[in-house]
Amino acid sequence: MTEYETVIGLETHIQLNTETKIFCACKADSWEDPPNTNICPVCAGLPGVLPVLNEAVVRKGALLAAAMHSEFRLKSFFDRKNYFYPDLPKGYQISQYDMALGNGGYLDLPMPDGSIRHVGITKLHMEEDAGKTKYENGRRYVDFNRCGVPLVEMVTEPDLRSADEAAQYLIRLRQLLRWLGISEADMEKGHLRCDANVSIRPVGSTVLNTKTEIKNVNSIEAVRTAIIKEVERQVELVESGGRVEAWTLDWDDTHHRLTKMRSKETEADYRYFREPDLLPLELDEAWREGVLADLPELPLERRARFLQDYDLPEYDADILTADRPISDYFEAAVAAYAGDPKVVSNWIMNEILRMLNEQGISADQLLLKPDQLAAVIRMVDSGTINNATGKALLSKVQQTGKSPLEIVDAEGLAQLSDDAALQSVIDQVLAAHPDEVMSFRSGKEGLFGWFMGQVMRETRGKADPQLTKQLLLDALSKRD
């Protein structure tokens, strides 16, 4: 059997998280609003209305273009894409065609096996969203709320080679969009929509065979599954002597199957022409520099730096660059701690992430500040408190907002590391349990942990474990 390679290109529609729509003053987000309650003459395409471009859309588009290494056009144009559909109220979509905001670009995608997949970007342009149509009781209903919601359409070259790579691309894209703060990038809510173009070819071939387009996939997992199924179908088809046809396929997420929506024999003619209702978008270097001043270090760059500068394992670096708040939190804690970054990483991955998950918040919403985390770790390091107390202390800081030192003082949490005091507790424990002492001394060394526990209980956990162990061993091995 021939060995096949999968060739995938992704078309993504990214909903920008601006306050208002792209060409009017309606609010951009209509999530859960009743149909047709967030519309105005402009976005509903009434006769005589005109679009006015929202600058925030251009700013967010420019940030994305920069992050995707796309050439930023200082002069770009809007065009009309003409077609009839009930949820397209003007009968054309205002989009950008041949002179879009971004020209080209790429994303270097790190794969779990350590390799890098270079994914080229063919298109990056701004456009308005259309409305929604639904069928119910044999009738067609149209909701215009979504009309005029700002989108960036971004299309990759056919550079992805597996369903996993496609999923990785979407994971990294989602991470990037949230990192830049330009989209909520929630696929379930349609903030990030993806169509996948899939074809196969024998390994070693460089031709691009007829592709199918998979639509309506609304989660990263669905994209992965749908591609796997489609590749299986194409391989079976070709192996049995068939020919792949240029179909558009609909992903049914409930039944996990693809159904044919339509054949795509000929390319639709959208009769593109320049939108006469908008002037050419002319920006200058100063504007661009102003916008790019807000461009943060990007997640993949930061990930590389964490590996390099902090010597973190890839696993840690990935988690600590998952989103911008956790990443910034880590860096601030490392700076305050001024010790081994891996120690800070362990504390964050164990304690802080659990806290965030439990409370459903992000790192920038913690009451427990990075320098306070660093202070707690230092107290543990110096033996002022033990590890368990340290963990409990983090929760107390988060709950009360008080400083760790304040809590330690107020609650007397400082570790019992005074030899004499600790010795006296140990003496009391041994005196109170002569039978256990006998058993230990006659060889039941497993009881040592039980003795440790008793001492810890007596000291309410404040006993320095190292010192306790030492003193306890001495005391138990004494023969009187």
């Binding site: 003459p41 005589g48 009968g91 006469p276």
Partner: protein, 528 residues
């Protein structure tokens, strides 16, 4: 004496001074309408009667209640000792291509016959805030697609007040006729290829097409979005200036509306023309159209009466001290109409997409099997012949395989036409013109049904006006005499971008110079 004998600026002065009440003016206007109008255009109009053939039929919708409310508000302001605006109490009509809140806004098409606009166009809003009284919406060619107003779905279509057997021109035929017949003092029109200037010339009134972007297009139901200009139709130059001043200026709802500051158009009106350089172009003294068989350009001289009226106007301006520059070449204007055919239709086809029976307006009342049949029937029944021709042509020339050959090429022709004007107006060039003087139209008003149906020939009525739309520059048409049939002849003045002041100043000088001319005493037939 009727209030209607005053010009708009005089009415506004007298109303603001408390010498005349807005309600009185309104009542005079309504009486005039009663006298000359006849029945308004309607979808189901039946047979034309002899009586119909003598009336103007300028209006589709009369908005009497709105006008009364405005008039009372104006009068209340004045009694409270306040100014009621520069157009206080001035009767106004609106071409029914503008949306006006709570009024039918039909575009003279069946497809919008039941559409009541939920908002008001910027230009209308500004005119109303200045105290104008909106008497109603006036007829036009369907979606402004024509030069005679005959293609309106609302019949009887408007007739020329100077001779009701003739067309008023178009597409702003209702605007020009309503002003000429004295039903209103001012009318808001639109000009895409000459749709203000040509009917103004046919009806013996002043029509001003401002620079593209000088007046907001918000609320104007689009034909050719890169060409459409709202503008003034008025009885004289001063009124046209007054109206432009009220409407012009940036609009946050139209990003193609210019930020260029709006001057006081009245301030330099009477500065005269001494030392100004006014051009004449031989290219504007002919029309040229392609032979239907060979495609070769056939050139035809304009009628002598029209050429002479233009030359006489040049002499009158020369007498006032203007310098007349002859022989200014405008070599690319002959391609104005073919290029316009392409550009306007591409934009029109796209602009008309939204009328699909889904959201508002007409939807077929017959059965349909599916969405596509609903679209087909709705659009087949809702659009008249002219929009259909424009949709077909527009779809064809913007198709991917033809776009380069037609649409892109037409855009290059536009640039060439603009370059002709730039060199004529270039202050360091050979001609250094302040304005170009031309006839407005190749003929005076033609007979109803004479040309209608030949959409190519009809289009050539715009040959002398369309270059300004391609270039985006302002133009004005001013009455300059009557022909042998007693029909008005118009002259046109053109100036560079934002040169409206110059047009108004030269036009006003011409009006003053010819104030005592015998033809100025003539009244339109419907008022005799």
């Amino acid at each position: 004496m009727s209030a209607l004998d005053y010009a708009a600026h005089t009415i506004a002065q007298k109303v603001n001074a408390g010498e005349l009440s807005a309600v009185e003016v309104l009542e005079d206007a309504l009486a005039r309408i009663e006298q000359v109008e006849g029945r308004h255009g309607a979808l189901d109009y039946g047979e034309l009667t002899d009586e119909d053939r003598k009336k103007v039929h300028a209006f589709i919708t009369l908005t009497q209640d709105r006008a009364y409310a405005q008039a009372r508000q104006v009068d209340a302001l004045v009694s409270a000792g306040k100014l009621a605006g520069p157009l206080a109490g001035v009767p106004l009509s609106i071409k029914d291509i503008f949306c006006v809140k709570d009024t039918p806004s039909t575009a003279a098409s069946r497809i919008l016959s039941n559409f009541v606009a939920p908002y008001t166009a910027t230009a209308v809003e500004r005119l109303e805030s200045a105290g104008a009284l909106t008497l109603g919406k006036v007829n036009l060619d369907e979606f402004t697609h024509g030069s005679s107003t005959e293609s309106s779905a609302f019949q009887p279509s408007t007739r020329n007040p100077w001779d009701p057997d003739r067309v008023p021109g178009g597409s702003s035929g209702g605007s020009a006729a309503s002003v000429a017949a004295g039903e209103v003092m001012l009318s808001l029109g639109t000009d895409t290829a000459g749709s203000i200037r040509q009917p103004a010339a046919f009806c013996g009134v002043v029509g001003l097409k401002p620079t593209y972007g000088r007046v907001s297009r918000y609320g104007l139901i689009a034909f050719g979005s890169s060409l459409d200009c709202p503008g003034s139709v008025a009885r004289d130059v001063r009124d046209a200036a007054l109206m432009l001043g009220v409407m012009a200026g940036a609009d946050p709802r139209d990003s193609t509306a210019s930020l260029h500051p709006v001057p006081d158009y009245l301030a330099i009106l009477s500065e005269g023309v001494k030392g100004l350089r006014i051009g004449l172009s031989p290219d504007y003294m002919q029309i040229a159209f392609p032979d239907p068989q060979t495609g070769a350009l056939i050139r035809q001289e304009l009628p002598a009466e029209i050429r002479n009226a233009t030359l006489r106007a040049a002499e009158a301006l020369a007498d006032q001290g203007a310098e007349i520059v002859e022989g200014v070449p405008m070599p690319n204007m002959v391609y104005g109409i073919p290029a316009y055919f392409v550009v306007s239709r591409v934009e029109a086809a796209s602009n008309l997409h939204r009328f699909d029976g889904v959201k508002y307006g007409y939807r077929t009342s017959s059965e349909f099997r599916d969405l596509h049949e609903m679209y087909r029937k709705t659009r087949a029944e809702g659009f008249g012949l002219q929009p259909k021709l424009r949709i077909l042509m527009g779809m064809y020339v913007s198709a991917a395989q033809y776009s380069e050959q037609y649409y892109q090429r037409a855009l290059r022709v536009r640039s060439m036409i603009r370059a002709d004007f730039e060199s004529a107006f270039d202050s360091g060039g050979a001609y250094r013109l302040d304005a170009l003087l031309t006839p407005t139209t190749p003929t005076t008003a033609f007979k109803i049904a004479d040309i209608y149906g030949d959409s190519v020939l009809m289009q050539y009525a715009d040959q002398l006006t369309v270059p300004a739309n391609h270039a985006g520059i302002p133009g004005i048409s001013i009455p300059a005499g009557l022909d042998g049939d007693g029909l008005p002849i118009g002259i046109q003045l053109l100036a560079p971008d934002f040169g409206e002041e110059m047009l108004l100043r030269v036009g006003y000088a011409f009006e003053q110079a010819t104030a005592d001319a015998a033809w100025r005493k003539q009244k339109p037939q419907v008022l005799r």
